[in-house]
Symmetry: C2
Subunit: 119 residues, 2 copies
């Protein structure tokens, strides 16, 4: 099974965390190539990213694509994600885990913004 | 003239601010319906959002579309943008200024993520 894991910073503001959960749910409702969609956070709220990833493994995920839901490469993107990846690869060597660039660095962001803003 | 203004939070980390400037530049290099592309920040670095907007007006912008480059609706999105809009509408009544939803709330984010993550 293929899984997508969205990982956001996490906020003290519950509505911000709810936005992430709602986005994961919306992705799950779309026609997509992932059997499972998860979401997790680095700080301030649960589920934490590693727990969310473990949960996907428990549900049978054999490939997990991790998307850092961040616009800029700050400390979290630069340091936290490599750590999570290393821990996950050690703990789940049988699972193929792929880390995407953070959202703000994804190829196509500029084009997408042009389309959004022109609509 | 039509302008698009990207407004991000601003970071102590110069490379994060540079990412925003580079994105604005990339948008400008694409085929798009905007004559001018600007970028500004709410905090920690320059140009500040209102100054960036004023600069677009000086350059001749008659319509300005403001995109909050934020993934979640925290305090900044909820409070700062309406303030900036009010100030701008008072100062530049002849300019048509449109505030988009913050990036994370834009229709199509879920679909876009599916495409990115599946690529």
């Amino acid at each position: 099974m293929n899984a997508l894991l969205l990982v956001a910073h996490g906020s003290r503001k519950q509505s911000s965390n709810d936005e992430v959960a709602a986005l994961a749910q919306k992705i799950a409702s779309l026609n997509n190539s992932f059997d499972l969609i998860g979401h997790g956070f680095l700080e301030l709220t649960d589920p934490k990213a590693f727990d969310a990833l473990s949960d996907l493994v428990e549900k049978g995920a054999k490939q997990i694509t991790v998307l850092p839901y961040f616009l800029a490469a700050g400390h979290h993107v630069v340091s936290d994600f490599p750590e999570i990846m290393e821990k996950a690869e050690n703990e789940f060597p049988e699972v193929e885990i792929k880390l995407l660039p953070h959202l703000g660095a994804m190829e196509g962001m500029a084009q997408w913004i042009v389309e959004l803003a022109s609509a």
